[in-house]
Subunit: 202 residues, 2 copies
């Protein structure tokens, strides 16, 4: 059974996106990350910025603001909270990609869970120690007023909360994935090599 | 930096031990699993059976019996509970193996944590879905009066509790390891191949 879809879940700053982009190039696969945001924005009419801020980090907002949205009108779309609505469209887009029959790499967005019934998917988790990720976040995204450690930890907490909310699974637990690679130990090139070898010889 | 020690942590029934044995054979590394039990038994005077039952599953006993041991005399050795004493000897044996300079594979026993200051260690976690492990436990260890699912889940719970007790880390969380491999998805031969390739080319 050839691998047609590779999903990449990743700790913030681990180089998961870089791994995915390199894999797409090497394997000739389509690459989806922010591209999904564009499609969701196109379908919903929300700005790309709004989708980016809310599509992967939904329940990361305070429980209060979330409840307020559910109770009030501004956050309600088609009888759902905005965040649930965005998730539903995002889920539809990911299923469309998988059903298109085109070989693809999808980064983040609960794709491992959404595509759990598909046989030809390889689910990967990329992670690294805090030191590696702190340095990489500053090198990749630049300095900010928030300390790198806090940026890394906060973002992962939001991803974990979002994943838990929509999948009822624990984000980053090995059993959700087929392989988990420590990019800090292995290096990003080695991660790409290992995943590629599995995808090509499955 | 060549890899001199490979630690293998494993979910029960995932084939972690088989992976370790095959790796030892292919790489010409020494192999330690029950061999550590023999050494601990030799040093402490406890039977191998007693060491096997208590060395990796210490706090898996009820908290009541554990407290009772700490308060009474039968469980006290050198001012420690028997389980803490066994852990301390086991830890010493693992450090002796690492300091011997001989290339080795060590299965279980918190070796990843005990050797965390060593540079030339590759820490691996082997896991698989429940169905794969249930079938493998019955095929490897035979039927028992306890349902395979319960055998697998209980053993992992005990390993997790033991690991937490002695390391204050969560057993099976990717960040404790350099690579985590799903043997149910990849197959044991592929796990061996991936680890071997990393160890030989580091």
């Amino acid at each position: 059974m050839a691998v047609k879809i590779i999903t990449i879940s990743r700790q913030f700053g681990s180089g998961g996106r870089t791994t995915g982009k390199q894999l797409a190039k090497d394997l000739g696969f389509d690459y989806y990350d922010r591209e999904i945001i564009d499609r969701v924005a196109g379908e919903t009419g929300f700005s790309k910025e709004y989708v980016a801020a809310n599509s992967e980090y939904a329940p990361g907002k305070s429980i209060f603001s979330y409840s307020f949205e559910a109770a009030g009108t501004p956050g309600i779309m088609n009888g759902m909270t905005t965040t649930d609505y965005l998730y539903s469209i995002q889920r539809k887009k990911i299923l469309e990609i998988a059903n298109s029959g085109k070989n693809s790499i999808i980064v983040g967005r609960c794709a491992d869970y959404i595509l759990r019934e598909f046989d030809d998917v390889l689910n990967v988790f990329i992670y690294a120690d805090l030191e590696f990720r702190k340095n990489r976040v500053v090198a990749t995204y630049g300095e900010s007023n928030t300390k790198p450690e806090k940026r890394v930890i906060d973002k992962d907490k939001k991803r974990a909360a979002n994943y838990k909310h929509y999948t009822d699974r624990e984000w980053g637990m090995p059993n959700n994935y087929d392989i988990c690679l420590n990019s800090g130990y292995l290096g990003i090139d080695k991660c790409v090599e290992i995943i590629k070898e599995i995808a090509l010889n499955r």
